[in-house]
Symmetry: C2
């Protein structure tokens, strides 16, 4: 019976340490900027040009020699002669002398010979005469070259997931490619003779496969590519052959199930015949019957068959490990502080993952525990996120302020 | 000059009210479950089957008649006769009588005639004899039909963005399609004669188009489909013709720019010739020179040309409006509490959007304001999120606890 032989359980921290120790950064690839949104940047980006590349006007108004306006006041205005106009995309080609000004639009290049822009609100125009009622300082309303991005300076750091804001910088520089983490190819299969997929109809004793689809979605959400290896029957020969194929055709193998009689042993044997089992059993709740192994340089994970256990393992160690593997180091988790709606008894020595539903209250949020057994997918589907209870905590009292990690982010 | 005539500015709240009042829910479509991840669910989903559909074992062990074990203790064990075994996906077809038991694996159907499962740890097996050392209550270690999802009960609520957890429920029920919000088709163009896109090289006075790409990414991130209408030159004829075409080929029109001489007027005129301008100028900072109009039943937005202004308008009113339009009502914003690193002076009467960079400190986070002018895209690209400063606030002191909305979520 497979379940008798867990031996020493690894703590979550030990399991994570093992993964992070053996970690090499996942390879990179050049991608076109059209496909860069949401990808993990793996190069520091330096500006090769000044943005903007020329001095331009921050306002609609008149480009002036600031010195000409120094004495201007409401009662003693200065009269300038308007010698032309300049709009964005054009260059003023005339010559400017003392006492001249040029009508200028927001974003237009500052003509040679002037050094400030006076806002349209502070002047009066009479034919070609511009009457200035206010002194203007040099550089006023002038956006200097490089004031947004300076040539030679670092403008984006590696380790970020590219957002709309980052895309703006990349486009401002006119870049056509960036270096990003490749998408890890994850081979996923569910094991179990009881599993079927639509359009097959359920016969007695059968259930629809859940884990492939929840894990597929979870991995895709963090930027992986998933290869579907379907449902594997619980026989040692099939298992070994399939694992070998999955290992060859992917960067990481994920199996779930193997909770039926002896299958846990089969899985251990299959992995041992191809590589090495490093962990068999983690002190987490739910999710204890977990296998971590290596075949060559690639990782293989045997997750529990219970849907909640498989998915909670994804959140507590697969997600942080894969993000780190892809070089995604600069991010902030989406957290919400909430008050626990009831007392929770936790198991000493087991790190606990507790799914909760959030409700908005007058001035904050409440977190209602939703777990109703690790075999139930509904408990997680009715939840907005989860709280984590450390190994050494036995009771979390009703009303405690807890930190909820949102599933959606 | 276009900038003179803003007239009365709308407050952010007034602009949002106007949008939400005129709001009709965006249409739905049936989609296959393969494409459902991240889509907005627009139907309540009821279970048409029990999940699980049969009683099954929660443990590896022996299926027993609980009554047979009531007297069992460590010193007075009960001897049962093992008459077979059952694994997941199979049905035990034998007959069970008093004193019998069946070896059972986790997930296997409970045979007819037994009502509990005793864990493998609490028995000893000698040939076909199973020696039970512990009393077992009826239903112990039995997962009842419908204990996860009960036929006829509601299992998913409309208004959610479908997550891996939700996909699990959908798959557990064997569903092949769900009703989701269609993806709104957003027509986006940038206006300005100074704008170019690679591979064209910058000539003096030109800049690379930023706004199309930041807005495209931002709209795609919230589940919209973007249609690229490129760069429109600042002429009234082109503008009217283009807006008409964009309006016909999309569900919403987004223009940015129009900050050059007279263009703001052109845009107002063009919209008025095809429909109606409802708002011209919003009391927000940055982002004041914003136009909201309607052509037929469709909305059109004229956003400022400054990249930061265009994008902050996206976050403060386009994103909430479009999420509501798609029926995405049940979500929690990703927020982080942080301490402001320096004093901020804000403009009375203007709602302010202030991008900040987060830093992890010993026990929390600090928020460092990064804004360096609304024309600078770098200020937002170096930020992790933003804080909002209400219209009636003039100063936010250094060290104030502020709530940062993350860009990433």
């Amino acid at each position: 019976m497979g379940r008798e032989g867990f031996g020493k359980l690894f703590s979550l921290k030990e399991a994570l340490n093992l993964l992070f120790e053996g970690r090499e950064l996942f390879p990179t690839e050049k991608i076109t900027v059209e496909k860069a949104l949401g990808r993990i940047l793996r190069e520091d980006i330096f500006a090769k040009i000044d943005v903007p590349s020329f001095a331009k006007s921050a306002m609609d108004g008149f480009a002036v020699i600031a010195e000409d306006t120094f004495v201007a006041t409401q009662s003693n205005p200065v009269h300038l002669s308007c010698v032309g106009e300049v709009v964005p995309g054009n260059i003023f080609s005339g010559t400017i002398q003392k006492g001249h000004c040029v009508e200028i639009a927001t974003g237009a290049p500052i003509p040679m010979g002037v050094d400030a822009v006076i806002m349209v609100e502070h002047v009066e125009r009479v034919g070609n005469q511009v009457i200035v009622y206010k002194a203007t300082a040099p550089s006023e309303n002038v956006i200097q070259p490089g004031s947004d991005l300076k040539s030679g300076s670092i403008v984006l750091y590696q380790g970020r997931k590219l957002t709309p804001e980052h895309m703006g910088v990349i486009r401002a520089l006119g870049l056509e490619q960036v270096l990003a983490a490749k998408k890890p190819k994850i081979a996923i299969a569910s094991t179990g003779n009881e599993l079927i997929r639509p359009p097959a109809m359920l016969r007695e004793g059968q259930i629809y496969d859940i884990n492939f689809f929840t894990l597929q979605a979870a991995f895709e959400n963090i930027g992986c590519e998933v290869v579907d290896f379907g449902i594997i029957s619980d026989s040692p020969e099939t298992l070994t052959k399939m694992i070998q194929e999955m290992n060859e055709k992917s960067d990481m193998v994920i199996l779930s199930g193997g909770s039926s009689l002896g299958t846990s042993d089969y899985l251990v044997q299959a992995i041992e015949s191809l590589g090495k089992v490093l962990v068999h059993g983690i002190a987490v709740k739910p999710g204890k019957p977990t296998i971590i192994g290596r075949i060559g340089t690639k990782w293989i994970f045997g997750l529990p068959g219970h849907p909640t256990s498989a998915l909670s393992n994804f959140y507590i160690f697969l997600k942080p490990f894969i993000q780190s593997w892809m070089g995604y180091t600069k991010y902030f988790p989406a957290l919400i502080e909430a008050k626990l709606t009831r007392k929770i008894a936790s198991t000493i020595g087991r790190y606990e993952f507790l799914a909760v539903r959030l409700e908005k209250t007058g001035d904050g949020y409440t977190a209602e525990p939703t777990m109703k057994g690790s075999s139930a997918i509904s408990s997680m589907a009715f939840s907005d996120g989860y709280i984590e209870i450390e190994e050494n905590v036995e009771v979390v009292e009703k009303g405690t302020n807890v930190t909820v990690t949102l599933f959606s982010a």
